[in-house]
């Protein structure tokens, strides 16, 4: 069936049975005879056909067709569903990509194992890590048990130096060589970020004012009644972050 025939099927009303004058009827209209006569009499009247300006309507239809042809086909409201969903998902993916690229770098802790000779034991540790007490010349170093469980080794032992990002940052800012991080924390938490300024004298070797350990920092920040109930245990300064045995 061609397309024109299909449209003609849509145009024609249903004609399934009894026909009134005018060609319209339906078997479902089982009317009494008196009402059928009224129906037939009314159907004999024809609506006026001159009220609709056919020429003007055809002109407007052609003009509308030309206008829509220039603009493009009129999309149905549901035609924007898939393009809209695609655009939304593309925007979300782009936003996630930007967030992934612009995220701050993670601070990593690098552990360097550097063998230290006997002569460097007298110099203090430059990065503030508590090291083993320096061994005097001629005196064997602390005994350590090798992993294999054999005889303990003696002599200079490799030290573990830990590179701490916050200490490196403090050094770059011109802080003292042995700046205490708990001290810095205490100063920032009590006086704000504005108090975090490099000291005026770079050669000032006086110990910074403030707590020297995290325990002292905790005690300063908390009330005495609260801190008194906390279990007391010796915690080295850097082991909280390093986990170095």
């Amino acid at each position: 069936m061609s397309r024109e025939e299909q449209h003609d099927q849509h145009l024609k009303p249903e004609r399934t049975g009894g026909v009134l004058p005018g060609g319209r009827g339906s078997p479902e209209d089982d009317l009494p005879p008196e009402l059928k006569s009224v129906e037939a009499a009314l159907a004999s009247l024809a609506p006026r056909i001159d009220r609709l300006d056919r020429d003007r309507l055809m002109f407007l239809a052609g003009e509308q067709s030309a206008t829509s042809g220039r603009r493009g086909p009129v999309r149905s409201p549901h035609g924007w569903a898939w393009p809209g969903a695609f655009s939304a998902m593309t925007a979300v993916a782009a936003a996630l990509l930007v967030m992934l690229i612009a995220r701050p770098e993670k601070h990593t802790v690098e552990i360097l194992r550097v063998p230290v000779s006997q002569a460097s034991n007298d110099r203090p540790s430059p990065d503030g890590v508590s090291a083993a007490p320096p061994a005097e010349s001629g005196v064997p170093g602390p005994a350590t048990v090798s992993p294999s469980g054999s005889e303990p080794r003696r002599g200079p032992q490799p030290r573990t130096f830990v590179r701490l990002p916050w200490l490196e940052a403090s050094r770059r800012l011109g802080g003292p060589a042995q700046a205490s991080y708990p001290c810095l924390l205490h100063r920032v938490l009590t006086h704000g970020l504005e108090s975090w300024e490099p000291p005026a004298a770079a050669e000032d070797s006086s110990p910074p004012a403030g707590p020297a350990s995290y325990r002292e920092l905790r005690d300063d920040l908390l009330d005495d009644t609260v801190s008194a109930s906390w279990p007391v245990r010796p915690v080295p300064t850097t082991s909280m972050f390093l986990g170095v045995s």
């Binding site: 397309r3 024109e4 449209h7 003609d8 849509h10 145009l11 024609k12 009303p13 249903e14 009134l20 005018g22 319209r24 339906s26 479902e28 209209d29 009317l31 005879p33 008196e34 009402l35 006569s37 009224v38 129906e39 037939a40 009499a41 009314l42 159907a43 004999s44 009247l45 024809a46 609506p47 006026r48 056909i49 009220r51 609709l52 300006d53 056919r54 003007r56 309507l57 055809m58 407007l60 239809a61 052609g62 509308q64 067709s65 829509s68 086909p73 009129v74 999309r75 149905s76 035609g79």
Partner: protein
Amino acid sequence: MRAFGPQQLRDLLDEHGAALVLYAQQWCDTPEDVVQDALLRFLRQPVPPRNTVGWLYRAVRNAAIDTSRSASRRARRESALAGRRPSWFAVSHGDHLDAAEAAAALKTLPPEQRETIVARIWGGLTLQQIADLTGSSTSTVRRRYLAGLSALRERLGVVCPEKNNTINT
């Protein structure tokens, strides 16, 4: 891509144009504009509706009701122009009924009955289509149709050829 060409539009006008105008005239005084707008809106559809006639009658009905509501402020002018309103039906000497009397009788009917009769007799819609159009049940539409025909029979004095039963008005 338009599916309706000029020839299909002419066929649509010939088949249903006058009936659509008569249907719209129940509510507003400018049924020609209402029908014209409905036809143009029909042509703008990206996909032609499956039931063309039902779609057109629904579009005309909604537009005519909206027009009548917006024209409520011009009631005085409408009453003044009542005498100059165009007639509903074409005058023909072979009619069983007088066109003017039939139009006047239709205007006295309740809106639901008048709408059902106009859509059924001149629109060619089935009771089911009228039910879908008005949002009613088929039984309700049939009841309105029978009541409307009975009222018109009383007003117009139509003679039943079988029983020869006439109710004088």
